[in-house]
């Protein structure tokens, strides 16, 4: 049995809070992570992602709330006794041990018979494509290889949950794409439960089954990549996941979950998403806004402030009464020159109402 398998389990946070002295790093977070899924914690630096992850690992103890792994309460269990492995941002390979010894390390403490330890470790190294590098020292590997050793070392323990803390941040851009696809592939092939921390929204959208966006120690939104992109719950998420233009608008009326929205001279009919009449905010992706002739019906008058042709598309900044709007246009046959007056039109599906 010298192959790496999965023991994927669920993770549940029940109103978990972590304080350092009077400072709250994680505030009343509740989470449900399904077994066999890759869930990303996404958010700007300092929002509490690492702290959340370390509480899953048992490296930090929750100040309040309960943490369950595989249905068992592990709130007070230290890291040693949790069946969770973690890949550190710095990799944390033991510099005095060879690659092989590093990978065997955890197996030695798991009651695996001696003979199997080597086989398993070898299988782990094969899985990450480093079968021939067992005898090297970590310092004799490139950054990407070190990173894969760290992954193998965590994988071979067949943990209930595998944790990654910004695993790609020390890699160059090309490798990043490659490694993240590898991680995703291994996760899907083995059916692992993975919690993955990153501050890079593109990375999060690419690898995740589900994304938990955090901001200022709380969860801003929790959903599939598509949910987050298409239906952000608030301005922060809308802006953090892909770019968005945020407008102040006025909901005039709501009927049958369709809101009539006034944005200056423009009137839009949009899904109300629980909003009630009154002031609200509207988020629109740059690709969901079009340029029309100046004065066209139901458009916002504006003037081109900046115009950039980038081959596959054109990018504009248009100044209007409602502020500067960033627009990406697929129409490259006719490029609007700066200073030209235009009308800004909104695609029928695309703009989303969010809470004021």
């Amino acid at each position: 049995m010298s192959e790496v398998r999965s023991n994927a389990a669920t993770v549940k946070f029940d109103h978990v809070t972590k304080r350092y002295g009077s400072f709250t790093a994680v505030n009343d977070v509740s989470l449900d992570i399904e077994a066999g899924k890759l869930v990303t914690l996404l958010g700007p630096s300092g929002c509490g992602k690492t702290t959340t992850l370390r509480m899953i690992a048992g490296l930090e103890m929750a100040t309040e709330g309960r943490i369950m792994i595989g249905g068992k309460d592990v709130t007070c269990l230290p890291a040693t006794d949790r069946d969770v492995s973690m890949v550190f941002q710095s990799y944390a390979l033991f510099p005095h041990m060879t690659v092989m010894e590093n990978v065997e390390y955890g197996l030695k403490f798991s009651g695996v018979p001696k003979k199997e330890i080597t086989q398993k470790a070898q299988a782990g190294l094969e899985l990450v494509g480093l079968a021939k590098f067992g005898h090297r020292l970590p310092s004799e590997l490139s950054g990407g290889q070190q990173q894969r050793v760290a992954v193998a070392r965590a994988l071979v323990l067949e943990p209930q949950v595998l944790l990654f803390d910004e695993p790609l941040s020390n890699l160059d851009a090309k490798l990043r794409r490659h490694v993240r696809e590898e991680i995703r592939e291994i996760q899907q092939n083995l059916g692992l439960t993975v919690v993955y921390v990153t501050h890079d929204q593109e990375e999060a959208l690419a690898v995740s089954d589900r994304i938990v966006v955090m901001n200022n120690a709380v969860i801003a939104q929790d959903g599939t990549p598509r949910d987050l992109y298409e239906a952000p719950a608030n301005a922060f998420v809308a802006d953090f996941i892909g770019e968005a233009n945020i407008f102040d608008c006025e909901i005039e009326s709501v009927s049958k979950a369709i809101a009539t929205v006034k944005l200056g001279p423009v009137t839009l009919k949009l899904p109300s998403r629980g909003q009630t009449p009154g002031p609200a905010k509207l988020a629109a992706r740059p690709r969901r806004i079009e340029l029309a002739k100046a004065g066209a019906q139901n458009t916002l008058p504006g003037k081109i402030a900046k115009s950039t042709y980038v081959g596959s598309h054109a990018e504009y900044v248009v100044s209007t009464d409602k502020g500067e709007i960033f627009i990406i246009s697929q129409d490259v046959d006719q490029i609007h020159a700066p200073e030209a007056t235009v009308g800004v039109a909104f695609a029928r599906s695309g703009p989303v109402l969010i809470g004021a």
Binding site: I69, V74, C76, D81, M86, Y91, P95, S110, R153, L163
Partner: protein, 754 residues
């Protein structure tokens, strides 16, 4: 969840300590024996029934020493925990209670009942005359109280202390207990003497007048008379601290950062003074610059100057101490200089800093912890140095010798000694806090878990030249001093008769043959073997307790950590003379009766030298990134396994430094030893000082030479055993010898293959 090891039956740790406790109570003799315990002679001496060798159980069964009987009950109670899980509240509470009551009762009976029945008058009044008595405690007692201590710790851990970690709680408990018994208790007993008046009463007034006396604080040396003892010590210590730190840094840089070809020679040279009993350098200085010294005679011959005693006092002391203590600074700094991550320096260079700017702005600041440590060590070593002031001090009185003379001299004034000790402590602790303040809260972590790849840049060439010059001059001086020592050991009578002879060696180290085989007939053999034995026993113990303490300080968070740190570092600030006197006072009578044994020597070495292990450990450990421990923990290792498999191997340079240093200190120390040696356990240094007092300089120097050679050999062997830390840095594999803490002669590096 990871499989919990055996939950049924007994918790294995509890079982272990219960077994130890019962062995102590029921199997091993409770009281101290006249003979060496490990020779097992007691087994034939009427064991187990005879009073002298009986275990506590058999004494109690015979109706004697019934105050020991409660231990049986206490050791039986945890048996009720059979089958209970450690999360059960009763589990923790019972163990805490048993441990605490056991330890409490242990010390109460120990201090309460002594050689003449009750030790205190009020106990006599309360319970009436006791017509039994007890002697110093032995191994049985030791095992039993150890068991109580650790049961207590297991209990605390089960109740959730320090995250429920048994290893960490036990380690803390052990360090606290031993430091308490072997440092605080004796030192407090001695300091209590500061309040004692000559007629046996207590007085605060006389204490105050003593502590602010002219004798200590006079500024006379600025107006032509003499300065106070305290100021002399302070002045000397600051000078020595600064000079040794600078020189140590120079050598560390030359040894690791330059293309210097004779680095190895330099290393060997810097090591020599470490393995030399300090007063030997003092002696050599006298042989060279004293009234009838070789250099003095030579110079006065040429220039016709009248020889003076200028070298006795500050100049000679400064020379001797800088020679003696620079290598300590070197040892501290070389680890730090190597530990500075090359990629930091490379990063700096890519940020357009030139070599000099890189050195000044990156390398040097990263060495700050090392510099501060080196200064602190030099300062405290100088304050505590006893041998050199004894030989070279002249009219320049310092605190350490004053303490000695206050006790053994005609004054015989323990109160004065205690006052002087308080002043000394004030200075050393002040330095300790100044250092902490200077370091602040910055992180100096440079060894990340990433397996650092990179090469240290060369130093600016002007700096390099300067370093070579200083190192060269110093090397020359050192060689000169040692040549003097070596030559002096073959000279019939220095200053009078320079003819060569072997008589000093023959007298001390001759080996005869008798019909029983080889017979060590030389006069020095007995003290020589004792010294080796004691040093070999205490070195690993010192290193172990020092590194465990460092681990607790750097890596663990627990309540009272500040106090813990203060306590463990305190012995650092207590000079040997004080420890010596304190031990004599505290361990002369039951319950801990150790004077005249070898154990008291070992203990004094362990607790005197422990801070060096702690310092070395802290310095290296704070350069190991915490994510290494954490990843080990998430990989399923517990804290003990993490300590053993990850931290210890990465600490090899620190272990080696601690081992070497404590071994060497044990071989060369004199200050505490001079109070603690006995006819049976005489040590080399006190024997040599005895020769010096008899004006047998030849024998003294010959013996010192032999010691130096022996230490060189032992250090070489230790280096082989401990090995080096193999983490590899790009580009220097072929020259690994330069990038590790190489203390002695070069050792062949085993090629790192698999």
């Amino acid at each position: 969840m990871r499989a919990e090891s055996s939950t049924a039956g007994f918790h294995p740790t509890v079982l272990l300590w219960l077994a130890v406790g019962w062995i102590g109570y029921a199997v091993v003799p409770w009281y101290g024996l006249d003979d060496n315990f490990f020779l097992l002679g007691w087994l034939l001496d009427g064991y187990p029934l005879d009073d002298d060798v009986a275990p506590a159980l058999f004494l109690n069964l015979q109706g004697q020493k019934l105050w020991l009987a409660p231990f049986a009950l206490l050791l039986a109670l945890p048996l009720t925990l059979y089958g209970r899980n450690r999360n059960d509240p009763l589990f923790g509470k019972l163990l805490i209670a048993v441990g605490a009551i056991g330890m409490g009762w242990f010390f109460m009976q120990g201090f309460g009942i002594g050689l003449r029945g009750w030790n205190f008058a009020w106990l006599n009044q309360l319970f009436g005359e006791l017509d039994d008595r007890q002697f110093g405690m032995g191994y049985g007692a030791l095992l039993t109280v150890t068991a109580f201590l650790f049961l207590f710790c297991v209990g605390l851990a089960a109740r959730g202390a320090v995250g429920g970690d048994v290893f960490v709680v036990s380690a803390i408990g052990f360090v606290v207990a031993t430091v308490g018994v072997f440092i605080f208790m004796p030192v407090l007993q001695m300091l209590a003497n500061a309040l004692v008046t000559p007629d046996g009463g207590y007085s605060l007034g006389s204490f105050i007048s003593k502590i602010f006396s002219e004798r200590l604080w006079s500024l006379g040396c600025f107006t032509g008379t003499r300065c106070g003892v305290a100021l002399n010590s302070l002045f000397l210590a600051i000078l020595v601290g600064v000079l040794t730190t600078l020189l140590g840094l120079v050598f560390a840089l030359v040894a690791t950062r330059t293309g210097f070809r004779y680095r190895r020679l330099l290393r060997a040279l810097t090591v020599l003074p470490i393995i030399t009993p300090p007063f030997v350098i003092g002696l050599a200085i006298i042989l060279l610059f004293g009234l009838s010294g070789a250099v003095t005679q030579f110079v006065s011959g040429i220039f016709g100057i009248q020889p003076t005693r200028w070298v006795y006092g500050l100049p000679g002391l400064l020379m001797a101490q800088v020679l003696a203590f620079t290598p300590i600074a070197f040892l501290v700094l070389i680890g730090v200089v190597e530990g500075v991550s090359p990629s930091m320096e490379e990063a700096s260079q890519t940020l357009r800093a030139n070599r000099w700017q890189t050195f000044w702005n990156v390398s040097l600041p990263l060495m700050r912890p090392g510099l501060a440590n080196a200064f602190l060590l030099g300062f405290i070593e100088s304050m505590a140095d006893f041998g050199n002031p004894l030989v070279l001090g002249g009219n320049f009185d310092v605190l350490s010798t004053e303490i000695f003379f206050a006790i053994v001299g005609a004054q015989n004034d323990p109160a004065q000694a205690a006052v002087l000790a308080i002043v000394l402590l004030f200075f050393t602790l002040g330095a300790f806090y100044a250092q902490r303040f200077w370091l602040g809260r910055k992180s100096y972590t440079t060894m990340s878990g990433k397996g650092d790849a990179g090469v240290h840049p060369r130093l600016p060439s002007l700096l390099e030249k300067g370093l070579f010059t200083v190192a060269g001059l110093w090397a020359f001086f050192t060689i000169f001093v040692y040549a003097t020592i070596f030559y002096g050991s073959f000279v019939t009578r220095w200053g009078i008769d320079y003819s060569l002879t072997l008589q000093h060696y023959v007298k001390s180290f001759s080996i005869g043959r008798t019909e029983h085989g080889i017979h060590f007939s030389g006069a020095a053999w007995s003290s020589f073997w004792t010294t080796i034995e004691i040093a070999l026993i205490s070195a690993p113990l010192t290193a172990a307790i020092g590194l465990v303490t460092a681990y607790l300080l750097v890596r663990q968070h627990f309540k009272g950590k500040e106090a813990f740190e203060f306590g463990t570092m305190l012995s650092f600030a207590i000079p040997g003379t004080v420890i010596g006197v304190a031990y004599v006072i505290a361990f002369n009578v039951p319950p801990i009766e150790l004077t005249g044994t070898g154990i008291i020597l070992v203990l004094s070495f362990i607790f005197r030298n422990m801070p060096v292990g702690v310092r070395a450990g802290i310095a290296s450990m704070s350069q190991i990134d915490k994510s290494l421990d954490e990843s080990s923990l998430t990989l399923g290792a517990n804290s003990w396994q993490t300590f053993r498999k990850v931290i210890l191997p990465l600490l090899r340079p620190a272990i080696l430094a601690a081992l070497v240093y404590s071994f060497v200190r044990a071989m060369t120390a004199i200050s505490a030893i001079i109070f603690l040696v006995s006819a049976r356990y005489d040590m080399s240094t006190s024997y040599i000082v005895g020769r010096v007092e008899n004006n047998e300089y030849g024998i003294a120097i010959a013996y010192s030479t032999v010691l130096i050679v022996v230490m060189l050999i032992v250090i070489g062997l230790m280096q082989l055993v401990v090995g080096s830390r193999r983490i590899g840095r790009r580009g220097v594999e072929s020259d690994m010898s330069q990038s590790r803490t190489n203390v002695a002669a070069p050792v062949v590096q085993t090629p790192g293959a698999g």
